[in-house]
């Protein structure tokens, strides 16, 4: 594995934190710009904006589908492996929706249809925002209690925050909308990201021995941890995407992006801050 050959002790703390901080800044710009232009940090998916999502298995081409639904607020037609299609519509009037359902039932009788009203989507948005805030605050409290030391705990919280912010930034850039599924994935990321951060902090602060050795030991364990998680999630992503299970595919893609971002944040941002902290307190 290439990553495992990265020598974590080769760089100074300052060098280590540069890349994550730059990315965090960029993510902040992307999310900030989106908030200014649309009022939300991420483009909302159907769950939050309202609309209709259809999963159908058909050999019809994208063009045929687009032609079929030309009279409706068609947003996108996604294609999976095999004949799976994921068709999204924007919010529409009740009568139009009913005629759409009829049309779908006629053309693709075995389709899965989900519809969310526009105002209800707004309510869901508010609830998701609440969930994210509560989760983040809860996580920060647990970490603070666990370490009872401001700098290491702060580093963990900062790197978890960077995980979410940068992942959200990447989502916005590559076009993964914010939905219930991706919100759940972001929440899960809070949990995942803290895993390796805590390993790192515990190893460095509570074990005896040379800093370099402890750091590379923690790094070895940490990388294998994240790799196993990535392996499980990747398997889930591949199968769910191929099988057109949209919600699992969404959760898995955000977790995958997040786990890679987390590797960077843990072993560069968090490790960098912690190393600087230990070096400084050692000199005293």
């Amino acid at each position: 594995m290439e990553i495992a050959r990265y020598d974590i002790n080769k760089y100074s703390p300052r060098q280590m934190v540069v890349l994550p901080l730059v990315l965090l800044l960029l993510a902040g710009i992307v999310l900030g710009y989106t908030t200014l232009t649309t009022g939300l940090p991420l483009t909302p998916g159907i769950d939050f904006a309202g609309g209709t999502a259809v999963t159908a298995f058909t050999s019809d081409s994208r063009e045929t589908i687009e032609a079929t639904f030309a009279g409706y607020p068609l947003l996108s037609v996604g294609e999976g492996i095999g004949d799976g299609k994921y068709i999204q519509f924007g919010p529409m009037e009740d009568a139009q929706y009913r005629s759409l359902v009829e049309l779908i039932n006629e053309r693709y009788p075995d389709a899965k249809i989900d519809q969310i009203g526009e105002t209800f989507g707004k309510t869901l948005q508010g609830q998701a925002f609440l969930a994210l805030s509560f989760s983040f605050i809860g996580m920060a409290v647990v970490v603070l209690i666990a370490f009872r030391n401001l700098v290491p705990a702060g580093a963990v919280v900062l790197s978890a925050f960077a995980d979410i912010a940068i992942t959200a930034g990447v989502m916005q850039v590559i076009g993964i909308p914010l939905s219930l599924g991706t919100t759940a994935a972001l929440l899960m990321l809070i949990g995942y990201s803290v895993d390796s951060d805590i390993l790192l902090t515990t190893r460095l602060l509570k074990r005896k021995g040379k800093l370099d050795e402890k750091l590379s030991g923690a790094f070895r364990t940490g990388i294998i941890m994240t790799t196993t998680t990535i392996a499980a999630i990747a398997a889930m992503w591949v199968v769910a995407t191929a099988g057109q299970i949209q919600i699992i595919s969404e959760i898995a893609s955000v977790l995958l992006i997040g786990l890679f971002i987390d590797m960077m944040n843990t072993w560069m941002l968090n490790a960098g801050i912690l190393k600087e902290y230990i070096l400084r307190s050692g000199k005293k």
């Binding site: 899965k112 969930a131 666990a146 899960m188 949990g191 294998i224 889930m236 959760i251």
Partner: protein, 485 residues
Amino acid sequence: MNSETIINLVKDWRVALVLLLVIGSLIGIYLAPPSPEKGLEGNLQFGLDLQGGSWLQMEFQSVIVAYATDGSVGDLIENLQTSLEADVIQIDENHLEIRKTVSRAELEPLFAASDASIVTYQKGVSPFTADEVKRILSEKVNALGMQDARINLLTPTGSEYPQYVRIELAGVDMTTAQEIVGKQGLFEIRVQTTGNQTEHVLFGDQITSVGTPQRDFDGRWGVSFSLTDAGAQAFREAALSSGAVDNPNAHNLVMLLDNETVYSAPLDANLAAQLRSGPVRSLSASTGTGDSGLEDAMTLEIHLRAGALPVKVDIVGSGSVPAALGEQFKMTVVIAGLLALLTVGVVVYYRYREPAIVLPMLAINLAEIIILLGIARFIQQLDLAAIAGLIAVVGTGIDQLVIITDEVLHDGRVPSPNLYMKRYGRAFGIIAVAAATVFVAMLPLALMDLSTLRGFAIITILGVLIGVLVTRPAYGKIIMAILSK
């Protein structure tokens, strides 16, 4: 490992507990009660997206207002009812339920006109009304012989009042689901003429409003309802011509819903007297005293509404999955799960290259999944999101086993039991903090009524708890026994 170590291992309470729970879970899934016809699925409950069916999410068109007034509440209610043309009900000493979607700004002048003011304003209905809606919906669904229906009232986080009702019907397509929810029965009032003969008086469309069960001065429960002018006229004529006014006891008033008698009682003497002089629009049907009277009144209220809900509802979300697609999803997630377990196995093997470590790791992970499913069978239906949670748990689970293994195997040397326990303790410390964070991070999602991702959160939390409390300690024991051979 010889048989003696295995016996000692099984005798250890941590390992024994895992074994017990795995066996218990398998019994729960397959044998209690036995379900051979379902094959591998056993008694697991699946969500709509895996078994096929439809769901409707409806929002109550109603608001709850806390008010303050120096005047009379009765007048306030009266005024609101006339100006809003909606039912207004007092749910406790300072809250009104206004059964119409109306904004606070629209309400304020109306309250001011009655010398009252709005203290708080929230969307939703009182728990009592919400329960009634739930009861009516269940009755409709049960009447059609559908057992696999779930009806849930949903209260958004931050609000005190139920604002939505979600109904899930397995094996039913969307059109049928909407029909079931919207369907109303045929309600009719007839009057007894001679003997058992009855005569038509009016149909349910002449009923303009139905009240909630209330007690009169004698302690008898009853339900009030109002008629249209035409209905009141028809009622008066029938009462006079049938002879019910002169001899109430021989001429019962009979109420029928879909041609089945749901209520039958004589005309009250007071009412008879009133009817002589003119039509009466507001009537009340009494059902008797005590709890049974109340219960009958509640049922009668539903019947009077002929299956219509007391509050208007708007469909704000809906969806359907054909059974065949659900079946296909089921296969897909099983493949996803197995593939995840397999890839994880390959990765840890690549790292340790030691079957004696990798096999217990995978076995513990599998045990965790079985226990998780065993518990989920009782508390949580498995939908697609819950399965995603399950696979995510496989990921975290292996993570933590890696922490334990690496911590214990420090420098590749096998430590003495003393040192082992110390290191294990440290590893466990890391795991416990990590588990606490996942728990806290997922908790909001698990508690929020509105998220369809409750399953995801609950499975993740359960997985983390089972891991920390049961399977990780057992793994620590097993790996020690293996390493010290």
